[in-house]
Amino acid sequence: MNDIIKLTLVETVDLIKTKQVSVKEIIETYIKRLQETEKFNMLSEKNYAEALNLADKADSKKTEDFRPLEGIPIAVKDIFCTKGNKTTASSKMLNNFVAPYESTVTRNLKEAGSIVLCKTNMDEFAMGSASDTCFQGEVINPWTDDFSKPLTPGGSSGGSAAVIAASGACFSLGTDTGGSIRQPASFCGNVGLKPTYGRCSRFGIIAFASSLDQAGPITKTVEDAAYALTHMASWDKNDSTSVNVPLPNLLKNIKEGVRGLKVGIPKEYIIDEMSDEIQKLLQTGSTWLKEQGAEILEISLPNTKVALPCYYIIAPAEASANLARYDGVKFGFRADGPFRDLNDMYCKTRGEGFGKEVKRRLLIGTYVLSSGYYDAYYIHAQKVRRKIVEDFNDAFKIVDVILSPTAPSDAFVLGEKKEDPINMYLNDVFTVPSSLAGLPAISVPAGLSNNNKPLGLQLISSKFTEDTLLKTAYALEKAASFSFTPSLDK
């Protein structure tokens, strides 16, 4: 059944539940697909033997015992600890690390019946926007036509987005710190959902910037994203920042439409770096929502311009603290000796174990936290962060949802921005502000660029209103009726 991989998550759940096809056939079909698409370097770990075992177990069950995600093959970003699997964060530092425990999000998904098919490559420790800082080599976007100029899938969750574009799993897991789910989803033509900060437990997710990191699904459709998040989110005592706010029913009203909904477009998001085609896309998106009865309003988020530099102080500062644990003692990589002393071992281990972008960010983070600069940079950035949050609070007094592009461009050629960090950081210009404010946001595929590559539109809503966010995203998706897929076998 060649059409299996074309189905959405919700359709596959139904197919399994009604026993129209065995779980084994589904798993085998997806494994075959992943084997055919190895040239995109999406996978860090293949879990095929265990997946087939689990498929047999699922098939021996009675349908009334089926769980909500029974037999659903998923791809997991290699930043989630999955017990017994290598979990590397795409770093030399963790290249041999086998997780001795399970992250809460993957535990929730496994308990709901899903089957982990593979782990996916990413930017090292989630630091990047192109999946080109990966120790195992760069990930290639399946939308690439000319392999002499391979396109980036975006990052940091590039492998997870690429897998969905290549129809290699029913859905995948990403993490988003400043746009790491939404931007790759935009570049690969998928739906990427970053929930409210605290919705999904961070327990067992290798930490980058703890006040920002959040897990979310990458899917083919908005409805799939709602279904997946429903089984990922939980309040978890092992993560003191996870929240005890019940998740609204995300599927119940998803198709009810946007009549009467107020949608804001921030005037500060119309920036110089934005190309004509992105401006046009935004215009089209707002027309789509207006035609379905939404009211479009211009709003102002005055501190938008400083969100990026604010983020690039806070995230590296938190990273420099989080990554202090990689010392070559209890786990991970250690450089070859002999060493003069313990400090020499630390310096050599971390100098050899971390890649260039990670080192760059750890140096920035250490600098802004160092004596004499702490108040001027770090505390100042935390104050600016509060102003950015207040901007959104004011906006959500007027509107229900905010519409913007997801990224300032379509997928660019790998390596193009690698030597220019600030230019690379600009990829996150539309996604970082909502990250700083901990807001739920989603990227929905909305059209093709002049180069025939996917472009996404982003929606942002107020905290804990994923239901409103998804309802709006569904309306946008319906109007866009994005049905393009990469022509993989060219």
Binding site: N96, F97, V98, P100, Y101, G198, S211, N238, S240, T241, V243, N244, N303, V306, P309, Y312, I313, A324, V329, K330, F331, G332, F333, R334, G337, D341, N343, D344, M345, Y346, C347, K348, R350, G351, K359, R360, L362, L363, I364, G365, T366, Y367, S370, A376, Y377, I379, H380, A381, Q382, K383, V384, R385, R386, K387, V389, P421, I422, L436, G438, K463
Partner: protein
């Protein structure tokens, strides 16, 4: 903002990251550029604004002061160690 090589060296030691000479030069340039780009932030008036550490400020909870990992054995914990000796992690000599 210009970051001299000796500042980069100092920061790198604070972060316990050994750098090659070439890296010291490159990161000095990168840090200079990035910090210059961050100057924009200083223009924001933050008088009487409290720093924000967690977007869900009222929600912080404490977990029980108990073991998080009840089922992990000593062998499992040691299994990822780059160097070990019997039941111990080993490191270079610390005391003379």
């Amino acid at each position: 903002m210009f970051i001299e090589k000796k500042v980069t060296k100092k920061i790198a030691f604070l972060a316990r990251i050994g750098l090659t000479e070439k890296e010291e030069e490159q990161f000095s340039r990168d840090l200079s550029n990035i910090l210059k780009w961050m100057e924009e932030l200083k223009k924001v008036d933050v008088k009487n604004i409290e720093p924000l550490r967690n977007v869900n400020e009222t929600q912080l909870i404490e977990r029980d002061d108990a073991k998080s990992f009840k089922n992990i054995s000593q062998d499992e914990l040691l299994s990822n160690a780059p160097k070990k000796n019997g039941k111990f992690f080993t490191v270079p000599k610390v005391l003379e």
